[in-house]
């Protein structure tokens, strides 16, 4: 126990930790000083940012009547890509599985994502590393990512896809490429990526054969010609400049825009990138919807929002603000069993704790999901994982329907900003919905204060 007085009897002041040099910050400095390398990790932004938690639905009242739960219909289906594609994607629920690579994830984990998504009536997405047979085989609707690295990219797989997603950026790292470290490069991963085993694999930050919106338009034309104008083409952008990025993607001919906020995960990138580049998911949705509305394309070109979506409440809020669907990545991994407390002792041995484990790039995942280690992979059962994901997707859907019915909506798409209020000034400004108890939000037109 500390002495309360010094040896002359003068009281000590209470020891005071710095709000600037916190324990977290100091541990970062010590780690940097010991290694000389920046910290690389998986996941999305962990800092607290304004989020959907700062919004509330008002529910029904005298002026709005609700729908009866379990009795009156509340539809959840969504069609994506009907603008240019002859075979648009028809989903039963507006919650899709985001792109995650084979390489970052094990083959069985990709299979489980396909199984769960298919049972729930939604789509899953490939990632940086190409399409695996188990993923294609277990996914009723599979979106094929077209990435700067073009690892595993080939026209045969392209033609097997139900949609193509041109990846320009991702919320965790707008403007950044990827890095799959050598320890995860098994023979199979190396073979699919046409690189030697065991070396670090850089994924480029921009496409090798186009730059800018005019080129993108030609790239989309090429992909449509190769696939006979059958499948939708999405463009995925990070939450960087959502109004202009959405505008330019539509101008280039996209069928859908996938918009990923900074809480969206990555397999591996610099911590400084994840925490300091990009915008929160809450902040990007209204500018993107505004761009769609300004071009007369809202509900014609679909907006798929991702980045920290966790619950049916998040789904409902995203859709009320104008999104057509959402995508989940990190939440899907947790549903599969990532960061499960049952492996706490093993997380502790890795210097972390369940819930905080984010060194996915090291390939030592106790849950056997973000690994290529054959022994660790055995811990994960893709059938059970698929069942868990299906359950989770069903719960999210039921939750979103519960809210929509309470707001008197017979389709999730009928949720609207007028159903929402904000708990904070920041959220009110970002979502353009009134601060609770007021008729005002910062920046509201024709209001002066």
């Amino acid at each position: 126990m500390m002495n309360s007085h010094d040896d002359k009897g003068i009281p000590h002041t209470t020891p005071r930790q710095s709000a600037t040099f916190t324990a977290d910050v100091n541990s970062d400095i010590r780690r940097a000083a010991a290694t000389g390398i920046y910290d690389i990790r998986g996941g999305g932004a962990k800092r607290k940012v304004p989020s959907f938690d700062d919004l509330l639905f008002m529910g029904a009242s005298i002026s709005r009547y609700p729908l009866e739960g379990y009795r009156e219909k509340c539809e959840t289906n969504v069609t994506i890509g009907g603008l240019h594609a002859s075979n648009p994607i028809e989903l039963d629920i507006p919650i899709t599985i985001a792109g995650m690579s084979f390489g970052a994830l094990s083959g069985p984990a990709k299979e489980a994502l396909g199984r769960g998504a298919s049972m729930a009536g939604t789509s899953t997405t490939t990632g940086d590393g190409g399409m695996t047979p188990e993923e294609r085989g277990h996914s009723n609707k599979l979106v094929y990512q077209y990435l700067p690295s073009r690892y595993g990219m080939n026209p045969d797989d392209l033609r097997k896809a139900d949609a193509i997603e041109i990846v320009v950026g991702q919320g965790a790292k707008p403007g950044g490429g990827g890095m799959l470290l050598g320890q995860k490069i098994s023979d199979r991963v190396a073979g699919m990526r046409n690189l030697p085993k065991g070396i670090d694999q850089r994924s480029a930050c921009r496409h090798p054969d186009w730059t800018g919106p005019d080129d993108l338009e030609i790239k989309i034309l090429e992909l449509r010609e190769i696939t006979g104008w059958k499948v939708p083409i999405y463009v995925k952008v990070a939450g960087a400049r959502p109004y202009y990025d959405t505008t330019l993607a539509i101008k280039a001919g996209a069928d859908a825009v996938v918009l990923d906020g900074m809480q969206g995960g990555t397999a591996a990138t610099q911590d400084v990138f994840i925490e300091h580049v990009g915008q929160p998911t809450l902040a990007i949705v209204r500018p993107a919807v505004q761009a769609l509305q300004d071009l007369g394309m809202h509900r014609k070109v679909q907006l798929i929002l991702s980045g920290g979506i966790r619950s049916g409440a998040d789904v409902a809020k995203a859709m009320a603000l104008g999104a057509d669907a959402v995508a989940i990545g990190t939440a899907a991994l947790i549903a599969l069993g990532d960061n499960d407390p049952k492996y706490e002792a093993e997380y502790n041995a890795l210097g972390t704790t369940s819930g905080a484990y984010d060194d996915w790039h090291e390939g030592r995942d106790p849950a056997g999901i973000t690994t290529q280690d054959p022994e660790l992979m055995k811990r994960f059962d893709p059938i059970e994982g698929g069942r868990r994901l299906k359950n989770y997707l069903k719960v999210m859907t039921l939750e979103a329907q519960t809210i929509a019915r309470a707001c008197g909506k017979n389709h999730l798409h009928n949720l609207e900003p007028e159903d929402l209020v904000a708990l904070t000034m920041e959220a009110a400004a970002m979502a353009k919905v009134p601060l609770c108890g007021t008729d005002w939000y910062p920046g509201k037109p024709n209001k002066s204060y």
């Binding site: 026209p155 070396i199 090798p208 030609i218 104008w229």
Partner: protein
Amino acid sequence: MQSFDLEAQGLRALNSVLHDQAANTNQTVWEINNPKGSHAIAVGLDAPIEVNVKGSTGYYCGGMNKQATIHVHGSAGPGTGENMMSGKIVIEGDASQYLGATAHGGLIVVKGNASSRCGISMKGVNIVVQGNIGHMSAFMGQSGNLVVCGDAGDALGDSCYEARFFVRGSVKSLGADCEKKEMRAEHLEFLKEIIAESGVDAKPEEFTRYGSARTLYNFDVDNAGAY
């Protein structure tokens, strides 16, 4: 020979009819007139047919080609032969930037010059250029061969993996982790074969080989200044 007027019949009709050709098609030779720099000509082909484009092409001619031989009787725009898997593309004139980007296989021959980023991120294709190539060529090249009968611009083979580069003329500068390599018998033999197949005018012993020094294969902070 089948003749197709691109200006009159349109791009969708062209690619559609070329995609419809089966492996055993009798219509093996096609002539495309009035290309006029159009984009995405003869993309995604997957049959052993010969397509002669009578003029210059825009972006991505022959993109993702499999099996087909595409002959451009003019110059070719950016990204020609991007992600090609197999087959052959011959360009009588010059090629713009990103020639053969990420291509996995087959052969691309340029009778003139190729611009910057020729063979960027190449994954197994062979590219032969009679003239010169521009800067940042074969950036992050993974595998395959780039044969240049003229000179190479700045930063050849920057951050390359296992792709090989053979240059007959000068190299303005080498990119990060790219170095001069010895010519062994196997390389001379490879050059002899590919020169014959490409129909370019050169002798194997006139070339110098370049490739990855492999010092950046696994991240090391002491190499950070190299990037």
